[in-house]
Amino acid sequence: MINFVQQRHLFFTIAGVLIALSLVALVTSAVMFNGQFLRISIDFKGGTLFVLHFDETVEETAIRAVFVDNGHTGPIVQRLGAAADNTWQVRTRFAETEEVQRILDDLDAQVGHVNRTLSNWNTVESTVGAEVARYAALAVLAASIAVLGFIWFSFRRVPNPFRYGVVSIVAMLVNVVITLGFYALMGILQGWEADALFLTALLTVIGFSVQDVIVVFDRIRENIPRHRGESFELIVNRSVLETVHRSLATQLNAMFVMVAILLFGGATIKPFIAVMLVGMLSETFTSLCVAVPLLVAWEERAHRHALARAAA
């Protein structure tokens, strides 16, 4: 039998490196973008986002000039999709309806005709960012407590059920840090911004982050009475190996769908799907290589303490 659990020091090191890299990405982002650990979208800080589809090939500088002439200094102009799509994304400060209308008219006259039926714009005035961030943090906290309670209750018949809940949450938080780090990195490299969709994806990742944990724990729960006399480490190892096929097969299926959406779906939901993809991958890793070995480490530590106390 392959001893999976014995490799835990290696796993913890990998997890530590991933966490460190994520923190580096988050801090780099904060240094680069005025203290924003993730680049914040206009959903949360206010501003205007245009997605403009032109009927002809246009120059980035020409687009920028129209915005500057209309009093929008320093707009962020980016190409969206392939060059042939003639689609551009412009981010700038909050604009009144009349301003939007004037900008569109000026673009028509000076740059190229904007196809209204293929374009969109979104403008947000107030800065609800702090409020949303607070609610999001609250949602993560609520999810953590709910999951801790649920696992604690669900595994009440195994010895030390509280530990199962705690290691699940540690795994979940590691997963959240890695996912945030990935998004911060993409913010630096690709200009991805955290918007309402990102929050949805993050909360979904949290929701799924205990799936693999629960399956392995369920098997441990079943194996404990069946293999009395075996060490806890052995039982856990057996349980992981017995369920690893399922974890991989399930992961694969979710990945099929997500990769298909990444390849063929619209450009606007790519970051949303990418977050889920990374979150799911990291979920399998944190479940099998953080939560489960942590449970064994905790058990052994408690065991050693008990022995020490008995000897003293």
Binding site: Q211, V257, I269
Partner: protein, 466 residues
């Protein structure tokens, strides 16, 4: 084969037939749609409800703009909502939605709109207040009826002479002459009649308005002057004396609440609370269609791979799972139509992802079944053990997902992110449907297959992916 299995199978077939009829057929007769008693009577249908991001349109989010420390009453929000809805309806567009979100926000969604800029102007326009002379033919009874029925009237405000001329020859149209507008008004507040202590609304005009009002009242003593808000008559007091000061009172058999509401309406325009636009979003209609097309294509590719994987990896079991998965897709789509759930781009992505995750329960069972077979169990006992032993895992992981859905939903509700809410509902529906299809449907199909050809399959275990 057991009787129960056969009954289950018939039930599943019926359900599948229903789902295919509801989802694949485009037209449904009235008696079918009338069965959807929980949907509002006027709009019962079996169509997909597409969100703004998929059909294009305008979304405006307005927030109460009050000084620090003042809170908004839910009654005021409801009144403001009704007024905004009236204005939006006046644009004559199809199916606008106006809703109160949270405690201080109103969201307006207008699908498929051509000119978003004009609509935004209409929505946020402060209401139009006018003081008008009724046309000669209007009796007190007519004015009373128009007021009671809240019928919109025509006024000469902003009309050219030619338009006024052409309308006045139409005998069936009552044209009211606009004398003063809300722009002339300085303030409005409630006072009590010193003699009867009846509540009255006192108004004060700005200096220019005051002189217009003075000369008008001097010439029209004994006549009626109507106060009109957004083309609807509020009241028609009669002029008792000439009023040179620019201060007047509006009498009526008001209760104190009615009087203060009128005063507020005169002060702020129609809205009981000032609203400011917090965000607006305009999405080109073709862009939405393009998104639908791309999502459908991505979905077909992704699902095809999942179906193939299950078939190749789990063979006979996999084909049972594929049939159950097809039913899962159909039932989900049917529920989206029945509830109805508004489809958005992230909603579709969430649904597709849920299909990928839906096979998890089947995989748990099948892997368990293979294990039992390796331990030398007979086919039927391995199958039953697979389902019953995997059940606790399936139950616990799905319950955890439902818990998350509840948290997502509450979170979405708290800060008016309908996107998050929609996603949570889709995911929750998917989880519940999955419990049914992955367990009940797959088990019935597998029992039937093993019942019919169990011995043969037992000899060819490669058919189970072993």
């Amino acid at each position: 084969m057991e009787r129960r299995t056969i009954i289950n199978f018939v039930f599943i077939l019926l359900l599948a037939a229903m789902a295919i009829y509801g989802v694949v057929w485009q037209q449904h007769p009235a008696w079918v749609t009338n069965l959807l008693f929980w949907q509002p009577k006027a709009s019962r249908n079996l169509d997909f409800q597409l969100g703004l991001d998929l059909q294009g349109g305008l979304q405006v989010l307005m927030v109460a703009d009050l000084p620090e420390g003042r809170t908004v009453g839910s009654q005021d929000m409801a009144t403001a909502r009704n007024i905004v809805e009236n204005r939006v309806n006046a644009l004559g567009l199809t199916e606008p939605v106006v809703q109160v979100q949270g405690s201080e926000r109103i969201v307006v969604e207008i699908p498929g709109i051509e000119d978003p800029a004009q609509a935004v102007d209409t929505i946020r326009e402060t209401a139009m207040l006018e003081f008008v002379t009724p046309p000669a033919g209007a009796t007190a009874e007519t004015l009373y009826a128009i007021r009671e029925l809240q019928m919109p009237i025509s006024t000469t405000y902003l009309m050219s002479e030619a338009e006024i001329q052409s309308i006045s020859v139409m005998t069936d149209v009552l044209l009211f002459q606009t004398e003063l507008t809300g722009g002339d008004l300085d303030s409005a507040y409630v006072v009590r009649d010193p003699n009867t202590s009846q509540p009255l609304v006192a108004i004060e005009f700005k200096s220019e308005g005051a002189s217009k009002f003075a000369s008008y009242t001097a010439n029209h003593i004994g006549d009626v002057l109507c106060i009109v808000l957004d083309k609807r008559i509020l009241s028609c007091p009669s002029i008792q004396t000439s009023i040179p000061s620019g201060k007047a009172t509006i009498e009526g058999s008001f209760t104190y609440e009615e009087a203060s509401q009128l005063a507020v309406q005169l002060q702020y325009g129609a809205l009981p609370i000032p609203l400011k636009i917090e965000s607006y979003k305009a999405i080109g209609p073709s862009l939405g269609a393009l998104s639908v097309e791309k999502s459908v294509r991505a979905g077909i590719v992704g699902l095809a791979v999942v179906f193939l994987f299950m078939l190749i990896y789990y063979r006979i079991n996999g084909s049972a799972a594929d049939l159950a998965l097809a039913l899962y897709v159909l039932l989900n789509l049917l529920l989206y139509k029945l509830v109805p759930v508004t489809m958005t781009l992230p909603g579709i992505a969430g649904f597709l992802l849920s299909v990928g995750m839906a096979v998890d329960a089947n995989i748990l069972v099948f892997e368990r079944m293979k294990e039992e077979l390796r331990h030398g169990r007979s086919l039927k006992r391995a199958a039953e053990a697979g389902f019953s032993r995997a059940w606790t895992s399936v139950r616990d992981s799905n319950l955890a997902t439902l818990l998350t859905c509840a948290i997502l939903y509450l979170f979405g509700n708290a800060f008016a992110a309908s996107l998050v809410k929609g996603f949570a509902i889709t995911l929750a529906i998917g989880t519940v449907v999955n419990l049914f299809t992955a367990i009940v449907v797959t088990r019935t199909l597998i029992r039937m297959a093993f019942g019919a050809a169990g011995e043969w399959i037992q000899k060819h275990t490669w058919l189970l992916g072993l």
